[in-house]
Symmetry: C2
Subunit: 120 residues, 2 copies
DNA sequence: GTAATCTGTTACAAAAAGGATACCGATTAC
DNA sequence: GTAATCGGTATCCTTTTTGTAACAGATTAC
């Protein structure tokens, strides 16, 4: 039971640092939709209606989520000069930094579903 | 512009699979607190009040979150025969599978904060 | 002319999530 | 005897999030 005080302190600040970082991430991509939208866009650019259908999200919410993602530099919005006008959303170079996060979430979800199904 | 139909279809089902997986994960560890709580517990077991203080979470919410995490096998709850009784919460072997997710979130948060600070 | 497409916005309602505070019974420290 | 500790619940309330439906203005297809 001999634990040096400095170790404890060190551990506590490291813990605080980790909490802060996780919170920061959640502030940007937390909530019900952002990570799902990024998951879709990672697999190719989409138009507004396409995203709405594919994610099953109402236009009002979708609009808000996309704006927030764009403000954080995680997606790009391009108005195409078609008739009628279409708007393309796509990932950005910066959102590539989220690959690790998205992949981890994806893998865990797959793994968890398997586990649930195989443990009655 | 020659894209084989089968590729598109393949891409779509892969995308659906990914959406499902990410949603599954979010159903289990989504929300404001669960990932933060796991971040803390990954760094050592805590008691109820400790968690409450460290995360800055009110007892009502904390109690609910802990129950949900326990139901999903992600944390353990141990009543200790002390006076007064204390309860220890800890990670489980299964929650180790979330290491990848938590690490990715942690790293991204650190990276993002740096980016924000260095881009005025 | 009618219906359907596109990207959003607006107004309103509902639900979910989260927070504040007091309190329980048992115990310890002063 | 007073205050503080422990884990947790109960009550009430506020905030956030989400959904629904209608609509805009412009164009195309029939």
């Amino acid at each position: 039971m001999e634990i040096k005080e400095e170790y404890i302190t060190e551990n506590k600040t490291e813990c605080k640092r980790a909490i802060l970082a996780v919170r920061d991430t959640l502030d940007v991509v937390g909530g019900k939709w952002k990570l799902v939208l990024l998951t879709i866009l990672m697999r190719g650019k989409r138009r507004f209606r396409e995203l709405s259908r594919e994610a099953g999200i109402s236009p009002r919410i979708l609009s808000k989520e996309l704006q927030e993602l764009e403000m954080n530099g995680l997606i790009s919005r391009t108005v195409c000069d078609t008739k009628p006008i279409t708007v393309e959303y796509d990932v950005t170079p910066y959102s590539e930094t989220l690959h690790e996060v998205l992949d981890a979430l994806n893998r865990w979800g797959v793994q968890h579903r398997h586990k649930i199904i195989n443990t009655p």
